[in-house]
Amino acid sequence: MRTLYLDCGMGAAGDMLAAALLELLPDQDTVLSELNVLGIPGVEIKKKAAQKCGITGTHISVTVNGQEEESLDFSAYNHEHEHEHGHEHSHDGEHTHHHSGMHEIEHIIESLRLSTKVQSDVLAVYGLIAEAESHAHGVPVTDIHFHEVGTMDAIADIAAVCLLMDKLAPQQVVVSPIHVGSGHVRCAHGILPVPAPATAYILRDVPIYGGGVKGELCTPTGAALLKHFATQFGEMPVMRVKTIGYGMGRKDFEAANCVRALLGETEECGDTVTKLSCNLDDMTAEDTSFAMERFFEAGALEVYTVPVGMKKSRPGVLLCVMCRESEKDNMVRLMFRHTTTLGVRENISRRYTLERSVVTLETSFGPVRQKLSQGYETTRAKYEFEDLAKIAREKGLSLAEVKKLIEGQR
């Protein structure tokens, strides 16, 4: 399976992610040219080689009307020159900020030369940021104004990452536990703890750690991009790496300040699923059926019952709900809500699956979907039952007859 692993041991920011992903592509200059004609007002995206702790990578700089914008979490100090040693003092404490509302952001994004899918990714990422800002400030999403994340350079970073993800097209994106940094940071809102409230909100349910580095390592933009694209958070899977990219941050730390992206193939070794189960002997079949529907609606991978004989010779059912780890808490809640059980058991199972895809075939009966499965030296094809059943009902045929007729048309 084509897998992208993002190593966020020094956090992540939009520009770092964009630079790391850009390094994975063979023709970077062409992609960069494409990014520069997206139509983001006044924005120019440039790449340059950068080195951190002896590691070479790419740094992406975004200039807006010729000027590079900078986060506020570094503040220069001012003091008097009172001695003669020629120390050079920095006085660059002046910063300018652009504030943009969600509506304005949406308008800009919709005008970009991006495919519908990439646009929807960009909007979804902004949606996460907007929700987090809204939660942090206690105001409706429509009322929030973006500070660092609302400026054109942030739009450029997000659009770049979404476009690059589209080009790389990984089937799964695994993100390492994220090092968010520690201490406090100064931003447009004042002095905030690290991770900043918006970042912390976005990264709910995501494995993060503070570590020993003082400073903001993961920005809200970086957090939202990771949250949106990650299919899984965890350690690097067993994979055959084909290309590696290093996206360098602006700051220098004792550790190399970069996001490392590894693109390759994971072995078809299956994944893990959570199996939740309970025994029921006091529910009607109708109630059980209703509950099973709710579990499927909530994203269960499989729900089934097995007849069991229970204590006091009561016939009952073993209800099993298989789901992803990320859905587990919600599924447990639903099991207690929709069944009469007093306890739910949990088992972690490794699951081996064939890779599945769906194609639509044009037939004389209209479009018919066909499910294709492959892997483990096996390839299978199967018509979508609902499509066959619909034709069979409409035409007064048996399922076998419909299948045969469709086969004859191919």
């Binding site: 570094f74 100090y77 040693h85 050079e88 003092h89 201490g183």
Partner: protein
């Protein structure tokens, strides 16, 4: 520095940096926040902010922490060397200034602090050579180089040849104190008049620079008593103790 300004911007004492007295200064707010950040620029900025409070011992630590991230920045190295020189850590300071050169600093930019280094070590002939390397340059630096070159020559028994580069119309910027002393060196102004002017200067830094220059001049022309009087006047103005003229006076007095 006036007393109210000193209260507002407290500075570490000479005794706390060059002696055994503890430094009980509290962090300024900026320093507090800079300590919260581990990136390179913040560590350099922390060193600069501590230097601004005359807390050079702590500044050296901050600069060395920054060096752990980047050791290829000659500007940082020159900040560190300056702090070490102020603390009279001569071996460290010299090694750091020489490292600046290997990291790409030009000879001219390092000549001045190396001249100071030799002066404070009592190696006046070598100091004249280094100060001489500063010229040609802008008038603001030139007047300081002429000042130190001449004082070094007085002590080394050499002819202060850079005085020929002095012009009354030099654009010295805020380096007026150097100009005042150099005008005495050139016999344009009687030393008594210059001393009165310097004593009345409310800016302690200007006063120290000018009076120390006169101190060197008076010693050179044989007025030892007057020279010692000037030296004591300099040492009274310890609010600007990290300035080179003050450190040189302190060095002379020891």
């Amino acid at each position: 520095m006036p007393n109210d300004a000193r209260k507002k911007h407290p500075r570490a004492s000479l005794a706390s940096q060059l002696g055994d007295e503890p430094c009980a200064l509290e962090d300024a707010e900026e320093i507090f926040w800079l300590r919260e950040l581990d990136d390179y620029r913040s560590r350099v900025a922390l060193g600069d902010a501590l230097s601004a409070q005359y807390r050079f011992r702590e500044a050296v630590k901050a600069y060395r922490n920054a060096l752990r991230i980047r050791s290829d920045d000659w500007r940082l190295m020159s900040h560190l060397a300056g702090a070490d020189l102020t603390l009279r850590r001569f071996d460290d300071a010299r090694a750091e200034y020489l490292r600046c050169l290997s990291l790409g600093a030009n000879q001219k930019s390092i000549a001045y602090p190396l001249g100071v280094w030799h002066y404070l070590q009592g190696d006046y002939a070598e100091a004249t050579a280094r100060f001489g390397e500063c010229l040609p340059c802008g008038d603001e630096t030139a007047i300081a180089a002429i000042y130190w070159h001449t004082l070094s020559c007085y002590r080394a028994g050499l002819v202060p040849v850079l005085l020929k580069d002095y012009r009354q119309d030099m654009k010295v910027g805020h380096h007026t104190a150097y100009q005042l002393a150099v005008s005495v060196f050139c016999n344009e102004l009687p030393w008594e008049q210059a001393l009165r002017q310097a004593e009345q200067d409310e800016n302690a830094l200007n006063a120290v620079v000018a009076i120390y220059g006169l101190c060197g001049y008076l010693s050179f022309i044989g007025k030892k008593e007057e020279s010692m009087c000037c030296l004591k006047q300099v040492l009274m103005r310890d609010s600007v103790w990290p300035c080179i003229s003050y450190l040189a006076a302190w060095n002379d007095y020891k």
